[in-house]
């Protein structure tokens, strides 16, 4: 019985939250990796683009709530996301037309494009803060828990409860659907294949008649979809605050690089690697050992490898280690 309790404990405090957080990171990481693979620069505006998409989701959610449209036990934001995506994609294409296109056409070095993305970051951040303000926003409605800790305890008669938030389930399901659609698109459709070809060898792709304008446009559209959904899911699960989104850029970068930048599948797994290692290394295992070990061997302290203050530091350290030992990422192999 104690063993089952220990497992439930780990599921509740490590596995479920890490799975949800990892999915949110994974979407962002695929976004970074796509931009890097096809447009060939590190996009420092990632976090703020995600907050931009989330802002639209929130605005539409508020509107829908005010006219009384909802989904019952599901959050209203799910209806709002498609509308937000339309605006977000528009914004992305606009930025590309007025900012990035010039540098792409004149074949500037990637560093210059990264600098330009910092300019975009400043502007996007300002627009978000001017429109919706810098404060914390919660826009979740509907049923909060799928399984409540108390109910679970009653049902199974265990000491430990397992709470699953509905946002966590939604996050994981949406991520899986989205990512599998994306991989299907990249691997099976003609456009997707030409995107991979373009990312692999630009000159050869151009030679074989692939239209670069179309590739770039589709990349921005996919990026807009990923950014909006990733951001909205994070906001639903936790809360929306522009500053947090800006900070999330860092673990997202870590995930993309750990998975091998330019490789979407690597980025997808990288998200989970980062999320799990962050939570595994900062969790206090005291209670777990209390269940597993006999009473005489119970640990005195918290049995915590690192204090939770260093959550971000964990992912960055992983990144630094990966960069030093395998700069091409853990899952190297074919690019895009």
């Amino acid at each position: 019985m104690d063993f089952v309790n220990a497992i439930i404990l780990l599921l509740n405090y490590i596995f479920v939250p890490a799975l949800a957080y990892g999915s949110q990171l994974a979407l962002g990481a695929i976004f970074v990796t796509l931009i890097y693979g096809i447009l060939r620069f590190a996009n420092f505006a990632t976090g703020d683009m995600m907050s931009f998409g989330t802002m639209f989701t929130i605005l539409f959610t508020w509107y829908l709530q005010s006219v009384g449209i909802g989904l019952g036990f599901l959050p209203t934001a799910l209806i709002a996301i498609p509308f937000a995506i339309i605006f977000m994609v528009g914004y992305m294409l606009l930025i590309d037309k007025f900012v990035f296109k010039y540098y792409r056409v004149s074949k500037s070095p990637p560093v210059q494009l990264a600098m330009v993305s910092i300019g975009v970051m400043f502007v996007t951040q300002a627009v978000v803060r001017i429109i919706i303000g810098p404060s914390d926003r919660r826009f979740f409605d509907g049923e909060k828990f799928l399984i409540k800790a108390g109910e679970f305890k009653e049902m199974t008669g265990l000491n430990e409860g397992l709470a699953i938030k509905s946002t966590q389930v939604i996050t994981v399901i949406v991520t899986l659907v989205l990512v599998s659609t994306l991989f299907w698109f990249l691997n099976k459709t003609k456009t997707g294949k030409s995107m991979r070809a373009y990312s692999d060898n630009e000159d050869l792709a151009l030679l074989s008649g692939i239209d670069p304008k179309k590739i770039v446009m589709i990349t921005w559209i996919i990026a807009g979809i990923l950014a909006t959904i990733g951001g909205a899911l994070y906001g639903l699960d936790k809360s929306f605050k522009p500053f947090t989104y800006f900070n999330n850029m860092l673990p997202i970068f870590a995930a993309a690089i750990v998975g091998g930048i330019g490789n979407p599948f690597g980025a997808f797994l990288g998200g989970y690697v980062i999320a799990f290692s962050e939570i595994l290394l900062t969790y206090a295992y005291r209670k777990f050992f209390m269940y597993v070990l006999p009473e005489s061997m119970e640990p005195g302290g918290l049995v915590q490898l690192l204090s939770t203050d260093y959550k971000f530091a964990v992912s960055f350290s992983i990144l630094v280690i990966v960069l030093l030992y395998r700069p091409s990422g853990i899952f190297k192999g074919k690019v895009l």
Partner: protein
């Protein structure tokens, strides 16, 4: 003279703007802008050495700034004796352990060939070391943090004059840069950017959460000053006389004695803070000028020519027998050290150390905007960038307010749009910075004062 005309013109306009602020707003504001412009100028010089001279991209400026600030605390605060006796020995022992761990790793690196086995050995040493250090240091840290947590709760510093911290800050930052450079400089440009950005976040995390060393988010306040205190100035005779002489014409207009006395008091209070700021300006200006002379000399020296050669064509420079790796490391350390000085100067001026205030927007990306806008590779350009961008950063709120009032003039004062826009005026600075950066990068990619190299 003629060829430097644009430099002189740009700087005159900048000084004119600051003087205008002095006349229309107040000299206090003008001087505080000027002081922070000088500090920003030091930071941009550091970044410019790395980016402009050598093409190294360093997004870790925030980390070095914070380390400089930490140096200011560790140098100037008086040591907390009780904390030292409570947990000092544990901390010192842990320090020895860390040194031992580093030496052990170095030994393994030297002794064994590059194999999987070596990697595992190193990993074991590090993990075991961290666990042992945690066991040793934890009781010490707890004991230290329990010593009067409302006031101290940390080890304190050396109790020396704070001005020394400017050098120590440079050493700290340089040391960190040496370690980072050793491991990360081989990376490609954009990877290096990301790696340095993340490492600087780690540095901030450590400074924020190691309360025994830095007091963490509880902040260290009331640091010693290199300049006199306003309160003392207001009671010294020579200062009051000085203020009286400066304002004699204004004061002589007031006939009533008591009224004249209150007016004088008011002027003395205002004057004292201006005087203190002037003291800081003098100190900072001294640093900026020294650094400017050194960096200019370096730029035109054979070493500077070599750096530019490495920047423009690494392979060719390598083929000519220049040690690219070593030079990159050197310049990375030098640039970071200069940023460290700026960090210490900043804390010296503020008189307080607030780890929570170190954010990448303000201390990394804004500095980069300064370098790019001013003109990378040109020291005068980088300094000008520091001035222009900081000036706009501060003055964008009033400008934004003015623009909002202008565009919404037709609306009622309580109209929701107007209220909302006025509330969000502080964020116009981000918009301005971003738009400025994008415009400069598009239409004047070399900055306001572009790099100009003449062979003398």
């Amino acid at each position: 003279m003629r060829k430097n005309l644009n430099v002189i013109a740009a700087y005159s306009i900048m000084m004119g703007l600051i003087i205008l602020v002095g006349i229309f707003q107040s000299w206090n504001i003008a001087l505080s802008i000027f002081n922070l412009c000088l500090i920003s100028a030091v930071m941009t010089m550091g970044a410019n050495i790395q980016w402009g001279y050598a093409g190294l991209i360093n997004f870790g400026i925030m980390g070095y700034t914070a380390l400089g600030g930490l140096a200011a605390v560790l140098i100037s605060v008086n040591p907390v004796q009780e904390a030292w006796s409570a947990g000092g020995s544990n901390i010192l022992f842990s320090l020895f352990l860390i040194i031992g761990m580093v030496l052990a790793v170095k030994y393994v690196l030297k002794k064994y060939e590059k194999t999987k086995k070596r990697t595992y050995i190193i990993a074991t040493i590090i993990i075991l070391g961290i666990i042992i250090i945690r066991f040793v240091s934890e009781p010490g840290i707890e004991a230290i943090e329990e010593v009067d947590p409302a006031k101290t709760g940390f080890l304190g510093g050396l109790g020396l004059p704070i001005i020394f911290s400017w050098i120590v800050g440079a050493l700290f930052a340089g040391g960190l840069a040496f370690v980072i450079g050793k491991v990360a400089l081989g990376l490609r440009a954009d990877y290096l950017a990301i790696a340095t950005l993340l490492i600087s976040e780690i540095v901030i995390a450590i400074i924020k959460h190691e309360d025994w060393l830095t007091r963490g988010v509880k902040n260290v306040i009331g640091l010693k000053r290199p300049a006199p205190y306003e309160v003392n100035l207001q009671q010294t005779d020579w200062f009051i006389n000085l203020v009286e002489r400066f304002n004699s014409s204004k004061l002589s207009l007031i006939s009533d004695y008591s009224e004249r006395q209150t007016a004088l008091n008011q002027l003395v209070i205002e004057g004292s803070s201006v005087f203190v700021k002037l003291c800081y300006s003098g100190l900072f200006l001294f640093v900026v000028i020294i650094l400017l002379i050194l960096t200019q000399k370096a730029l035109y020296s054979p070493w500077g020519r070599m750096m530019r050669a490495i920047r423009d064509n690494e392979e060719a420079a390598n083929a000519m027998g220049k040690n690219v790796v070593k030079q990159h490391l050197l310049i990375f350390v030098l640039g970071s050290a200069i940023v460290g000085i700026a960090g210490a100067m900043l804390v010296t001026q503020d008189g307080l150390f607030t780890p929570g205030s170190y954010r990448p927007m303000r201390y990394t990306f804004l500095i980069w905007v300064m370098v790019i806008v001013g003109g990378s590779g040109n020291n005068f350009g980088a300094i000008l960038g520091g001035f222009v961008v900081w000036f706009l950063w501060i003055e964008s709120a009033p400008i934004g307010l003015y623009l909002v009032n202008l565009t919404t003039a037709g609306l009622d004062d309580t109209h929701f749009l107007k209220v909302h826009l006025i509330e969000s005026v502080p964020y116009f600075r981000f918009l301005m910075m971003g738009a400025g950066l994008l415009l400069i990068m598009r239409y004047r990619p070399k900055g306001i004062l572009p790099e100009k190299i003449e062979i003398k």
